[in-house]
Symmetry: C2
Subunit: 384 residues, 2 copies
Amino acid sequence: MPKQILMTPGPTPVAESTLMQMALPVPHHRHPGFKKILHEIREGLKYLFQTEQEVIILASSGTGAMEGSVVNVLKKTDRVLVVQAGKFGERWSEICKAHGLAYDEIALPWGKAVSPAEVKARLDRKNYRAVLMQATETSTGAVHPVQEVAAITRSRDTLLFVDGITGVGVFPLPFDEWGLDVLLTGSQKALMLPPGLAFACLSQRAWEATKQSDLPKYYFDFAKEKKNLEKDQTAYTPAITLLVGLQEVLARVRSQGLPSLFAETHRLAEATRASVKALGLELYAAEAPSDAVTAVKVPAGLDGEALVKTMRDTFGVTIAGGQDQVKGKIFRIAHMGCITVFDVIAALSALEMTLSSMGYRFTMGAGTGKATELLGLALAGKSK
Amino acid sequence: MPKQILMTPGPTPVAESTLMQMALPVPHHRHPGFKKILHEIREGLKYLFQTEQEVIILASSGTGAMEGSVVNVLKKTDRVLVVQAGKFGERWSEICKAHGLAYDEIALPWGKAVSPAEVKARLDRKNYRAVLMQATETSTGAVHPVQEVAAITRSRDTLLFVDGITGVGVFPLPFDEWGLDVLLTGSQKALMLPPGLAFACLSQRAWEATKQSDLPKYYFDFAKEKKNLEKDQTAYTPAITLLVGLQEVLARVRSQGLPSLFAETHRLAEATRASVKALGLELYAAEAPSDAVTAVKVPAGLDGEALVKTMRDTFGVTIAGGQDQVKGKIFRIAHMGCITVFDVIAALSALEMTLSSMGYRFTMGAGTGKATELLGLALAGKSK
């Protein structure tokens, strides 16, 4: 296929205008012109995170921001509660373990979302300095009830850490309004950029906590980065080209507006969910599907890895398979960032062609048809 | 000026062919095609580092690789010796301090290179697990005698850490042959890429030491990265576009060959040094000037910050000023990476125009003339 369609939950496609912007000669990071770029980025990130706080910018992948938030905000004697419902929940636990922090887990079956009542019960039973969770558990496609959990933590001496790597810019996570304490994201998801940048936003009380933190850190020193950002610079050489792209993306996000961006992503997710159901398929995280990524169960008797491979190698559509315990059992289609209506239609069409070639029995065209119907209605409604 | 000339010791200019390569649609990092890219990169890095060892690739700036090498190779009870002769020597000490490691310093005046005899004397006097040094101390333009220090450390139970951020790809640092234990670099120097990637190479005994390391780490876990690299993948989402660029750069480096690359950089550095002397200026690190970057003393009575600003704003040539204790007192012109003969000529020409406008007395054209003479001879010699 001459044109590849990327539908994975990271990286997501990068707009051609952004790619071109990043292909310009690399400016020096201490040049006044670059400081202006960084200043605009700071404002754009505050808009994106819906906050008055400074958003820390790191040259790393999202995992660096997860570890950074732990080592900056917590101290050696803290005990934390991890919502563990997939591969990225596990990552929170692994980070705590690597730094010798005591942690308990709310261990859920993969595909499930945490119940706020359970969080409350666990916090009532034992003192935890923080709850660590995901906005979307990307490995299962489940969305966790961040707002409801924040309503519990904000009235206690418990900080809420939200890995919003597949959340920020996908659906509402208003940082200040909901009273979150730490919110993270990466560049290669809703921010429509190549990977290599990560972001962390801290509440006033999280910044207070950093002053008591005794966990070792150097490269991921949020207070040092904040002091530098306030002068429109970074502590170390930043990933300059990605920041040049970020300026362009954030300007587009502001001009479109978050409500419209969220509605667009939601429409694509809704249409995808309805379409795969029209093919007789089942959602994996059926009770709490995230708008970031739809995880679908591979029908009994079919090889999920072969399905993903055929879509990619025969039809040029890259979706994600399952990881770890759901390897070969689910496939995942992303909706965030630059993914368009016709990317979704193409992906569903390729999915149908693939399922048909694998001998799965269904009405050919039912999924593509459903998506065209739903997205057409939405677009028509939009133009009225 | 419609065309900006970048002559700073990081970032350095990126070739247009690399910028274009990185502007192609972003591939997925688990795609077989990307694994092939990563496989080629691994081979190219081994060539660049002149080693049989795996070279670890990190999505971070060079400082991340410095911290990573400390937390992976050392343990809490280790005592280390830091060669401290500028801002980046200081960084080694700061990293040790952040991780509670005991360290002593060979504290040298800025601009000086360490004496191997002093390293030997210090190692004879006290047991150190490691010596931490720079190949070039970028803040002063001094080159440290890495080979001579390695000859001392390799016969003892002392590991040698070399920050080669402005060394690898600039001048010879053959990792295996010299018996280095840790060698680092970043993408935005001799590797002619935007910032955002860092690299670390470990000797067999450094890898052995990682097994005893008890310093906390997660994102910068070299053993985990090594295990992944051996399968042509990375532990976390890599900085994909920079790796696409890296493949192109490493192919060029291999095709040109390291000896030719080193000779080219050396010629530019030599010509620059001779030219600034022809203007009556003095080298800052006169006893041990590095081929990576030439630091020049600002003549008495002139404002060094104004000099750098005029070169940039009036003539479009960005060089670096001095940092910290030499702020305003030196300026620095880089020679590594994609910097060409005519970039050097242009920078010297702009320097003369600037010095003249500031009232400095010298023979206009003496520097540019000297560089044209020397580089012309070298190029003619090359084509014979």
